[in-house]
Amino acid sequence: MLDFFLGHYAYWFVVILMCVGLYGILFKKNLVKKTIGLAIFQVSVVLYFVSIASKWGATVPVKDSNIPVEQVANYLNPLPHTLMLTAIVVGVATLGVAFTLLMAIYNRYGTLDEQELLEKIQ
């Protein structure tokens, strides 16, 4: 039982972060907090990918002249890391667009609270 938690602690961490993010998106009224929730949600998935790339006793995937070419397994899997670089950039771009939209909303309506916004739009 303990092993179920301790053995997969990385995944548990990811799950908790996802739940925090989802909580933020769904239950927070302030639009900025929703955005923060979204960011946390995206980060949790990034962490998942990073975690699957890791191995016991492996080193960072930077070419080390001390390690012979045949012993490739001594490096971590670099592919998820590359994918996540892209994903992080995507996340940053998304946040940028989100904040621009929030500024436009604030300029037009003067509030960033969802309740008030819905009333003003009606």
Binding site: I25, L38, V45, F49, P80, T86, T94, A98, L101, L117
Partner: protein, 493 residues
């Protein structure tokens, strides 16, 4: 020669123009729209040429940088992706022609960013369709989504809020998709679709694979406006500018549907999908509910764009229901409906744009029979598109419903058949209501507005795309045997 590079060329045309438009646009703002039209025109021609090549020689696989999969990323131009690319690029071309005057009126001064974003959105859509790599798909998904958020935000006052809501839900969906891809990568070690499809059967019972499939379907379902994940759609389509809606509505949800097709039919294969999780049954039911829900909500609307938005929710339900049937007739019907709905919805939203241009609103309760005299061509196009949406022969809409109906009968799924038939009637209600208002004299008022109105039709650049799309519905209707013949060949069984 050029043939082997076609998949990449189609997508890269949009990259080129996405760069050219800001460059020239800062110098001469008026050049943005013609450049956009040029770009999508070149892409349409390339798509057409590529499809013709495909019909003769078969699929094209393009390896970027010469790196073969599974190491490199590839673009796969097969029947399914070729068909979708052809449909969305051609429709986009006509919508962009139309947007010239709308841009001048609805968002003056912002033409350059608008058309640049349009190019990026189309890049994202084309990339999503053409790519053969799951993570690459995510990248293009996000590109198109971000561009779409921007396009929607350029609109009326509540538009940024609608765009923001779409952003939150859409990005969450994309992230779920990404997580699903991560699970699949963990299990199979590859991201290439063709590669993975060969490996998946051995992992069918792995819980990660089940979870991955569910996550991917839910994530893409958000983008496809599958009930009940459609909440972002009505507001986004209503508050965006007429051109944005006309661009995104016919295309965006279709591309998401394409991804579902890819996953269910090609990546997993129909038997494997059902073995892993009862996905087809569930999304079939959700699609059926969505069809009825969309139609009923559409009847309740007083504003034309909102009505068309709910109608879109309903129509995408047809496509996904066709997918869920998992037989050749349902497949052909769904794909034919992709084509038909893209053309019909684009035509309808362009009509809404025309009316907004001239009347300043598209509020149905204010429609009256003067429209018949003032905008004869616009209303004629509307009539054709409306009759096609209801599904009356010989227009295109009848045939997609016919094949879907045959597909449901093939599966002996009588409930779905009833849903298709009932929703056709519901469609008739909300479309004929407008036709009645426009073509009949208002019995309550004594003033005969119709006979006094002068013709005030929209300009050529707006009338031409609307009419062409309406005429296309006749052509597709008569030619549908040829089209469906091709679609049956694409079916991967």
């Amino acid at each position: 020669m050029i043939d082997s590079h076609l998949p990449a060329l189609i997508a890269l045309t949009f990259v080129l123009f996405a760069i050219l438009i800001p460059m020239f646009g800062l110098w001469k703002p008026k050049s943005s729209q013609p450049l956009a039209v040029l770009g999508s025109g070149i892409a349409s021609v390339l798509s057409l040429y590529a499809f013709a090549t495909y019909l003769q020689t078969g699929s094209i696989r393009y390896f970027f940088g010469g790196w073969e999969p599974p190491v490199g990323i590839e673009f796969v131009y097969d029947g399914l992706s070729g068909f979708f690319v052809l449909v969305i690029n051609t429709v986009a071309f006509f919508v962009l022609i139309h947007s010239r005057q709308v841009a001048r009126r609805e968002f003056p001064g912002k033409e350059m960013p608008y058309f640049a974003l349009a190019m990026l959105a189309l890049l994202g859509f084309n990339g999503m369709i053409l790519t053969g790599d799951l993570f690459n798909l995510y990248v293009f998904l996000e590109i198109s989504s971000l561009a779409s958020y921007g396009l929607i935000a350029i609109g009326s006052r509540p538009a940024p809020y609608a765009a923001f809501r779409y952003l939150i839900i859409g990005t969450a969906g994309g992230t779920l998709y990404l997580l699903g891809v991560g699970f699949l990568y963990t299990v199979t070690g590859t991201l290439n679709i063709i590669d993975m499809a060969a490996m998946l059967p051995t992992f069918a019972t792995n819980t990660s694979v089940v979870a991955a499939l569910v996550l991917m379907v839910v994530g893409i379902g958000v983008k496809a406006a599958l009930f009940p994940l459609h909440g972002w759609l009505p507001d986004s389509y209503t508050f965006a500018s007429s051109s944005s809606t006309a661009l995104i509505a016919p295309i965006g949800t279709k591309v998401a549907a394409y991804i579902l097709f890819r996953i269910v039919f090609y990546l997993f294969g129909v038997e494997l999908t059902d073995a892993v999780a009862p996905i087809t049954t569930v999304i079939g039911i959700l699609a059926a509910i969505g069809i009825l829900y969309g139609s009923i909500m559409a009847i309740a609307q007083t504003e034309m764009k909102r009505m068309l938005a709910y109608s879109s929710v309903s129509q995408i339900g047809y496509i996904i229901m066709g997918l869920s049937l998992a037989n050749p007739l349902g497949f052909a019907g769904a794909l034919l409906h992709v084509l038909n709905h893209a053309v019909m919805k684009a035509c309808l939203f362009l009509v809404a744009g025309n009316l907004r241009m001239k009347e300043g609103h598209s509020d149905i309760s204010k429609f009256n029979d003067s429209y018949r005299k003032k905008y004869p061509w616009t209303m004629a196009s509307f009539s054709v598109a409306a009759i096609s949406m209801v599904g009356l022969p010989p227009l295109a809409g009848f045939f997609s419903k016919w094949y879907l109906a045959l597909g449901t009968i093939d599966n002996e799924n009588w409930i779905f058949l009833a849903v298709i038939l009932i929703s056709s009637l519901l469609n008739a209600v909300y479309f004929f209501r407008i036709l009645e208002k426009v073509y009949m004299m208002n019995p309550k008022k004594d003033q005969k507005e119709g006979s006094d109105a002068e013709r005030n039709e929209v300009g050529f650049s707006m009338m031409f795309p609307t009419s062409v799309l309406a005429i296309a519905l006749f052509v597709i209707g008569f030619a549908n045997a040829a089209i469906v013949g091709i679609l049956f060949n694409i079916f991967p069984m």
